[in-house]
Symmetry: C2
Subunit: 408 residues, 2 copies
Amino acid sequence: MVMTATPPYIQGVPGAGHMEAVRRGNLALVLGRIAETSPAGRRSRAQISALTGLTKASVSSLVLELISSGLVTEVGLNQQSRGRPGVELELNPNKAVLGAEINVDYLAVGVVSLAGTLLMHEVRERDNRPHGVERVMAALSQQCAVTAVAAEKEGIDVLGGGLAVPGLIDAAGQVVVSAPNLGWKNARPDLRVLLPGSPLGVVLCNEANAAALAEMDHQSDTDFMFVSGEVGVGGGLVVGRELFTGADGHAGEVGHVVVDPYGSDCLCGGRGCLETVAGQDAIADAAGLAGHPARSSRSLTLSVLLGLLKEGDARALSAVERAGFCLGLALASSARIVPFTSVVLGGHLAVLDPWLRISLMDSLQRYSAGRFPSGNVLVSALGSTGALLGAAGLALRWVLEAPHTLRR
Amino acid sequence: MVMTATPPYIQGVPGAGHMEAVRRGNLALVLGRIAETSPAGRRSRAQISALTGLTKASVSSLVLELISSGLVTEVGLNQQSRGRPGVELELNPNKAVLGAEINVDYLAVGVVSLAGTLLMHEVRERDNRPHGVERVMAALSQQCAVTAVAAEKEGIDVLGGGLAVPGLIDAAGQVVVSAPNLGWKNARPDLRVLLPGSPLGVVLCNEANAAALAEMDHQSDTDFMFVSGEVGVGGGLVVGRELFTGADGHAGEVGHVVVDPYGSDCLCGGRGCLETVAGQDAIADAAGLAGHPARSSRSLTLSVLLGLLKEGDARALSAVERAGFCLGLALASSARIVPFTSVVLGGHLAVLDPWLRISLMDSLQRYSAGRFPSGNVLVSALGSTGALLGAAGLALRWVLEAPHTLRR
DNA sequence: CCAAATAGTTTATGCTCTGAACTATAAGGA
DNA sequence: TCCTTATAGTTCAGAGCATAAACTATTTGG
């Protein structure tokens, strides 16, 4: 648990160990083996039996249950040198989960197959700051309904969903404790309205954590830090291929590691946090854009900044260089507390990577005593769909780790 | 040993979920409920049944097995208002585990009952630096043998043990990757020689981690950082009442969080690490003891430093104050990555607490935005027995979490 | 001394995995 | 073509474990 917060679907397990717990665990075990195969090399019952140590009889019975619950389908035959060919199994391509994201300037909804591929998605630009929780959720649920109908038309069944929000989520996954950029505080969105008829519910998660989770599927490393550059700097920590959220969901907040003890005050109440140097606003100000008209919009600000960097503007270059230096410092310190071995940059930090990288790598190497080869600092390939995919991924894990909840 | 919230009865399953896994898990579950009771309020089978949700029949059968394996004994009767009194259960007071510690200037061995109390212990002053692994282990095993005989004379049966070493242990718990203060590198001590005839083996662990584990039993908080002040500064991180070691055992190394980007080089290869300011050597040097004859011994250095502080020596006071400031800074940053809520000071940092505390609390508050009330920064009460108790505690957990390994 | 309450055990039953026998299907060789 | 060999998957009896309900044991209180 490493720590790891208990996922909500584990709560269905009562305190005592019934026999059924074994069944549930084995259902998830078998489903996991089916899920981790590529279309190229799908597995048969016999292979799963060999892989898990369960007898062929048990696997047959478990697979039967997974098929009848709709999660798994039989595809083709799998001929091994000689003998009767095995029946290839795969995750049902017609079952999916929904991923959704609320951000400052858009709402995004997508459908992700059980295998994790994004089947369809729609982003609606929209300034969400002036509206309260109810109005935003109403707009989002309307958008979800449209997407769900579109999915149904293609014969796709949506089992559950995940919602990513740029704010702090409580341990129970029900309350948005605070989302400063949205102006939310202790908001309790009604998640069921997003997917009224689905067999599973909708899980709520932090946007940086979701993005980190999505990044994991495109990443071989098992322990890494995802740094999400937004207005501030968010972090998502993955330890042993599991999201590490800590007891209260605050884990991995690299944006508030102190990089300059005598630096400026931070919105969090601290001082000299990384965010005060490497947040998008902080970089823009340091680059001399403080009074610039583009500052009203995030994307505008970023493009103006990029323009200056390409022109070779000294002030912009030095602002970004300093951000890189401090980011390296904060990451090196963080890696002593939770020893991750890779870093993935997202948001504006991904965009600014070409100008950040040298100073980032310099300080990261210097302060971590050379633990991070340059190849271990990566740029996110997912861009703006990261949070969406991650939120869906969380719902996906729910299905894959607790398939018994879909029993008929 | 990454923490995970797996349901208790799934633990220890080597891949597949056999039926026996349920039995194993429930044995541990019941044993845990017996272990967590105080002598004042011991539990009966009926109470455990109510607590766990297992039926009385199951609990009876499980308890029978625990009794026949020698881990549990029936004590007295437990009268509830009316009806037949329950039979009180407790951990067998005649079963124990051994705790051992190798440090720079002593060897320590102790016997700890299943309930966690230190029954006997012996510390032998001895400079271990000049000797290699084999010689030190030979001396330690001789000391263990003496202690084991003494325990046997009192009718106490030693089931297993733990060994704490001031160095980095590999993930498998077999190799001391490096113990700079002992001069060990990739040492592979033969652990079996410490307890040749015991039913369980001996586990190896890091000294700061062991001390953190021991501290946990005297602490209500579930998430805290133990800071061990030695020549350098070690850290042990406890998350959700579990030791958090990370994939490679490096987790919680607060001593190498960067507190001064332009500070001096650290032995670890980094720069400006907390250790270069708050390690015992660093404080002594900053206090002006660089050439002092007492510097040859750790305890001497510390007592000279204490003398200076009590005299009000300005240089010593400012050295310690700066250490406190930097410690607060490093802890505030660390708490953003893994959100612990308390801090326990050990080693020289515990001794220097009166002179450290003000600057420590000031910077901790400043940089953590007031997350740490003063009462959440504690001084270790265990002193030098911490590592011993923690090593034994690790062996104890082994017994308590896998009681089936002691089946007859 | 008996009723009510609580503790613990016995017994019949059901669930889930296992192991071995059995059926199904294919490749390769005579 | 047909038989042997190899592999996949199913069936069925049996063992282990937890459950529920009935039963025994022991105490308080009237």
